[in-house]
Symmetry: C2
Subunit: 259 residues, 2 copies
């Protein structure tokens, strides 16, 4: 099957950043699962994750991270800090970042009122805090525990509990407009990366729109390298990959000859 000639410059790149909000991640107490999940899911959607930050539950830090990243990337996804307790300050901080007000959102209040009525649990003041949403934001559905997330401009604010965050993300996929899919091909080589480095560098120069990563591994005395080629241009990716295969094949022969 022939692939039509592509110009990389015609393909649209869509980028994103993730902000993981929470002291518990920085203290090492809780292992973050959201960053990797979002990286993989965004890739599926044709969105390239370009930066991820883990920051504490401090208003000024949230404001500064959100404002710096929302200008730089097409989308920003935050996780954590939208629960009912005093340390849940994400919604207020996002409102401050956008210089908008924050108030009890009628639809969010409705969802939560019904939810607690059915559960026979008191809809107390703390729980009502979860209905506070920045002005102009669009709700993000939470099918797990009902308290919604929200979207304001290009910033999506989601829960920190992975199962809730994942359910929220499913609900917003239709709001994300992806660009060109980042394609990748990987080859493992039983040689140290220092041996391939020179020719890989030359190949990189030959294919500037194919990013070439070299990842050494050390397993029980065995030294090897995983070489990952990534590009939004299928044709160039395949051409570069074939050339790399040829280089590695030749090195294998050389290796056999010298040992």
């Amino acid at each position: 099957m022939s692939i039509p000639d592509q110009k990389t410059s015609d393909l649209k790149i869509v980028t994103a950043a993730v902000i993981v909000i929470g002291d518990e991640i920085l203290s090492g107490r809780t292992k973050d699962k959201n960053m990797v999940y979002l990286a993989e899911q965004l890739l599926e959607q044709g969105v390239q994750l370009r930066e991820a930050r883990v920051i504490p539950d401090i208003e000024s830090e949230i404001i500064s991270a959100v404002n710096s990243l929302r200008k730089k990337f097409d989308y920003v996804f935050t996780t954590g800090g939208i629960g009912p307790t005093h340390d849940d300050i994400t919604a207020d901080s996002i409102a401050a970042a956008f210089s908008v007000g924050i108030d009890y959102h009628p639809e969010a209040m409705g969802i939560l009122t019904r939810h607690y009525e059915i559960s026979g649990i008191e809809f107390n003041q703390a729980r009502q805090r979860m209905a506070r949403i920045p002005e102009g934001a669009l709700l993000i559905d939470n099918p797990v525990s009902k308290a919604p997330g929200f979207q304001i401009e290009n910033v999506f604010v989601m829960a920190g509990v992975p199962v809730i965050m994942q359910a929220m993300f499913d609900g917003i996929i239709s709001r994300i407009k992806g660009g060109a899919r980042m394609l990748s091909r990987t080859i493992g080589a039983g040689i140290p990366e220092g041996k391939i480095a020179g020719e890989l560098g030359d190949l990189q120069k030959e294919f500037p729109d194919v990013s070439m990563g070299s990842y050494p591994f050390f397993r029980q005395g065995e030294v090897g390298t995983n070489l990952v080629l990534r590009s939004i241009n299928q044709l160039n990716l395949n051409q570069a990959f074939e050339k790399l295969e040829n280089i590695l094949e030749r090195m294998k022969v050389e290796n056999t000859e010298t040992t």
Copy 2:
């Protein structure tokens, strides 16, 4: 054993940031293990991890992250991008961030020359790149694969392969001056966080130097909350924790009465 009265303001806080450098982490291809490892190890040393960033192998991004974080925190630790291939641009980027030159470091050249001589492997141009160290930097020993990391001012530049990074970190512990140890006490409660939120907020106001985190969990239909109190002040931490235990004890009784 009585604990002497402590003033939190007398205790020294030492802070750090971690910068994980590498496209492979952002693409979700490689799961980062270094951030959590460093979070835990720094805690042991009395250093509080305050921010972590994952950034791509792009010089301007590395420069900007390093320069913003090294001014803000006592220490910065970077991982990744110091190998022999063209995508290993961390050393050059750090030199640029500090506006210093970079050259083949005599001691690093010596270490690598010996290493490759013994291994019978060619010390080629790509491998020699690993001896390029910013001016004025101090080497960080690499007992695993020899190519050293380096320290420049308060920035520690380490390998991305976890086993090498961990060995490098062991070697620099003596260079890190920790402050007050962050102490923590955790209690799990079989109640939703919305129930404890109000009183937890009041307790937080009573103990401003004890940070109180509330982490809900959902396991097979069971809803619960882990409450984590953290402070560098042992006395206040213990007092706050006892009060929290009493609140939870009372709620348990209330729960029994109403069901």
